[in-house]
Symmetry: C2
Subunit: 402 residues, 2 copies
C-alpha cells in the first residue's frame, strides 16, 4: 500500500477551501475585466533560458529539470517574464498598447513556512507598450479596487520610484528592500558586509529615508486623486522591491489588521521585453499573492458562508422509489436549481438527511409512497426545521423563492 501524502509546500484544497478560492478568483477576474484588461495564459513549462537572467537573486528557487528529450526546462516562476516572451513571439498578433491579466499557478522551491508555499496562485495585470505614468496610475488604481472589492476596509498602495535610487547599486537595493524585516541596524550591517564602510552605509540609508517624491510620483498621486483614491496611497521612500528588472514606479499593497506583509508586488519594468525582442516595449503592472490574500481574508473574516452552492438534496425513499426521485431531480435541474440526488438508494433516510446537514445543504426533498400518490414532495428546511408539503409541479418555484 502506498502512503497517501503530499510533498512539503504543496497543498490539497478540500471543497470548502476550493470554494473560498473560487469566490476570491471570481472577484479578482471581474475587477480585471471592469478595468478593460483581457485574459492570457502561458504554459506551465518553459525553456529554462526564458527565466534565467531576469529574476535577480532568487534564481536558485527555480523548479528546473531536464525533460525526456534532454531539454533544460523550468516550471512557471512568475507570469511577467513569460508574457514578455509571448509579446516578443507574436509581434503580428499583439497590438500595443496591450492590457492583459493572467491567473495561473507558479512554482518556487521556497523553504515552506506559514503562508509560504512551493505552489501558489498569482493574479497579474500589466499594461505593455506605454511609457506614460498614467498607465502606472491605472494599474495602481486597479490593485486598490481589487482589494476593496474583496472586502478589505482601507487597502493602501505604498509607492516609490526606483529612479530615486538611480545612483545606488543593485546590491545595495536588495539590502534596503529588507528594511521592514531586519530593521535599520540589520540593513547597515548587511551593507557593511557588502563593502560599504559604516559611515557610507548609514548615510546611504538616511538619504533614502529622507528622499522626496519626484515629479513622476507627484503626477501619479494626482491621477490617483482623479480615480477617487485619496486616502488609499502613501509615498514610502524606503520601499525597494528586489527584482532586478524593476525600473520606475514600484508599489505594494498593505491592509489594516494583517501584519504578515504586503499582498501584491508591483512595478514598472521597461527593459524586460527587450531580452526577447529588438522592439522596446515598456511595461507596468502587478502580481497579487493570492494565497496570502486568502489568508488575510480568512483572518479578517471577509468570506461569506460558502460551504455549498447546492440548494436541495433529493433523498431516495427506497431502491424501488428511486425513479421518482430521479424524475424530481431532473425537473429541478431543468429549472436551474442546484440539486444533489442522494447517491446510494440503499442508505437509510436518516443517514441521507445527515449527509445534507454535514454539507450545509439547506433543503431536503422527500418522495415516499404518500407523496407519490398525491404527486407531492415533502420539503424540509434543515435550518429552520420547518417542513411543508408541495405539489411536484410547484417545487421549483417554491425553491426559487426560498
Amino acid at each position: 500500500m502506498i502512503t497517501p501524502q503530499t510533498l512539503r509546500g504543496f497543498r490539497d484544497f478540500l471543497p470548502e477551501d476550493a470554494q473560498k478560492r473560487q469566490y476570491a478568483i471570481d472577484i479578482i477576474r471581474n475587477t480585471f475585466e471592469l478595468y478593460g484588461f483581457v485574459p492570457l495564459e502561458t504554459p506551465a513549462i518553459e525553456y529554462l533560458e526564458v527565466f534565467t537572467g531576469n529574476i535577480g537573486e532568487d534564481e536558485k528557487l527555480f523548479y528546473k529539470f531536464k525533460d525526456a528529450g534532454g531539454r533544460k526546462v523550468a516550471l512557471r516562476y512568475d507570469q511577467t517574464v513569460p508574457t514578455c516572451r509571448l509579446i516578443a513571439q507574436y509581434p503580428d498578433k499583439i497590438t500595443l498598447p496591450f492590457k492583459r491579466y493572467q491567473i495561473q499557478t507558479v512554482w518556487r522551491a521556497e523553504k515552506p513556512q506559514k503562508g509560504r508555499y512551493r505552489e501558489f496562485l498569482q493574479c497579474d495585470a500589466d499594461i505593455f507598450g506605454v511609457d506614460d505614468r498614467s498607465s502606472d496610475a491605472e494599474t495602481v488604481a486597479l490593485t486598490i479596487d481589487i482589494f476593496k472589492n474583496l472586502g478589505f476596509n482601507r487597502p493602501i498602495a505604498i509607492i516609490n520610484d526606483r529612479e530615486l535610487y538611480k545612483d545606488i547599486p543593485y546590491k545595495a537595493i536588495v539590502t534596503i528592500d529588507k528594511l521592514d524585516k531586519i530593521g535599520e541596524g540589520g540593513v547597515v550591517s548587511e551593507l557593511s558586509a557588502k563593502g560599504y564602510n559604516q559611515e557610507e552605509a548609514v548615510n546611504l540609508l538616511s538619504s533614502v529615508k529622507n528622499s522626496k517624491p519626484n515629479e513622476k510620483l507627484t503626477q501619479i498621486f494626482s491621477y490617483l486623486d482623479n480615480y477617487g483614491m485619496q486616502g488609499n496611497y502613501q509615498f514610502k521612500p524606503t520601499l525597494a522591491r528586489s527584482f532586478s528588472y524593476s525600473t520606475g514606479t514600484i508599489w505594494e499593497i498593505i491592509v489594516e489588521g494583517f501584519e504578515s506583509g504586503s499582498l501584491a508586488g508591483c512595478e514598472r519594468f521597461d527593459s524586460l521585453v527587450s531580452r526577447f525582442s529588438k522592439r522596446s516595449v515598456p511595461g507596468v503592472g502587478f502580481a497579487i499573492g493570492f494565497d496570502r490574500t486568502v489568508l488575510a481574508m480568512d483572518e479578517l473574516g471577509l468570506f461569506p458562508p460558502l460551504k455549498t452552492k447546492t440548494k436541495v438534496l433529493v433523498t431516495v425513499f427506497s431502491a424501488e422509489l428511486l425513479p421518482e426521485s430521479q424524475k424530481v431531480t431532473k425537473q429541478l435541474r431543468e429549472n436551474g436549481i442546484n440539486t444533489d440526488l442522494y447517491p446510494d438508494p440503499n442508505d437509510k433516510l436518516e443517514k441521507q438527511i445527515k449527509y445534507a446537514d454535514r454539507k450545509s445543504i439547506e433543503f431536503v426533498a422527500i418522495i415516499g409512497p404518500d407523496e407519490i400518490e398525491k404527486k407531492s414532495v415533502t420539503l424540509k428546511n434543515l435550518k429552520s426545521k420547518q417542513q411543508i408539503t408541495v405539489l411536484q409541479k410547484d417545487l421549483s418555484d417554491v425553491l426559487k423563492k426560498a
Copy 2:
C-alpha cells in the same frame, strides 16, 4: 537576446482563445454545480509513486523528475488517482458518499499532433463511496448535460460494462480498445502478436462484438430514461477503455459532426482508493478532454462572438485633458460598466479609435474641450457608426441600456 519560443506540445492562449476557454469552463463548472458536485484541487506535483502502478500501459508518458531534495516526483498525470490519494489521506474530513469535481491542468509526454498536447486541461467529476449503479446513471447524465449545455446538438454516451469482459485478460482489452483506430484486421493481428492464434483472436473479437447488455447496464439505461436522456445513449459492446483500473461501467461521449474521437472518458473504478487505504471506496465518474471539446466547439461554430467583455473605451483627447477622462472612467466603473481607459495620452484620437475597433470594443467615449464645457460626452458606436452626445451624469445609464 533569447529566442522567444514555447516547447513543442505546449501552448500560449492569446486573449481571444483565453476568453473562449473561460466561456466553456464556466458552463462546465455551472453544470457540475447544478448536479450538486463540489470542487476540489490537488497539487501539480506529487510523489511519483502516487501515479505508478495505476495507469496501465501509458506510464512512459509521465512527466517525472527529481526535485531539488532528490525526491522522485511527477507532474499531475490525471485527476482521478490524486483524488483517490486525497480520500485516503483525510479520512476524517471526507464524508462518504462524496461527489467532487475538479478542473485542472495535466501533463503527458505525448507525441504532439493535431488536438493532442503535452499540457492540457481536464474537467472531472466522480462519485466516491457508492457501489449502486444509480451513481453511474447520475454521472452519465451529467456528462450528457454538460455537452448539451455547451451547445452540442445530440451528444451520445456510448456505454459498456467491463464485467462483460471479466474472462478476458487485460492485455487483450488494451488491444480491443484500439478497434476504432486500427480496425478489425488490426485488432486480430495485434492479438496474434500477443500470443493468441488467429482463430482465438477472431473468436475473441466476435464474442465481444456480439455480447448483450447485462442487467446492470439495463438498469442504468432505465435510470437514464428517468433523467429524460432517451436518445442520448447507446450500448457499444466493443468499447473497452484501456485504463487498468476500470472495473464496471465504462462510457465515452461522442458528438455528431466531430470525427476526431470521443470528448470524455468515463468509468467505474472500484479498487483504486484501496491502493492508498484499507478502506474500500468504490468510485465512478469521468474526465472531459477540454482541449478536444474546444476544438469540436470551434469546428461546429458553438462559440458566440467573444472578443472582449469591455463595453466602452474612454479616449484621451490630450495629456492636459486626461484628468477628465480619468473621472469619467471612474464613474463608469463605479456603475459596473467594463471600461477601458486608453493607456497613452500621447497617442492621436485616430489611433485610439483603431485600438477600440481592433479589440471589438463597441463604444468609444470622447471628452474634448467642447464636451467638458457642456459636462457631456460624445459616445460613438463603432458598429453602427452612430454618434450621440450624452450628459456625463447620464452616460452610465445610456451604456447600461445599449
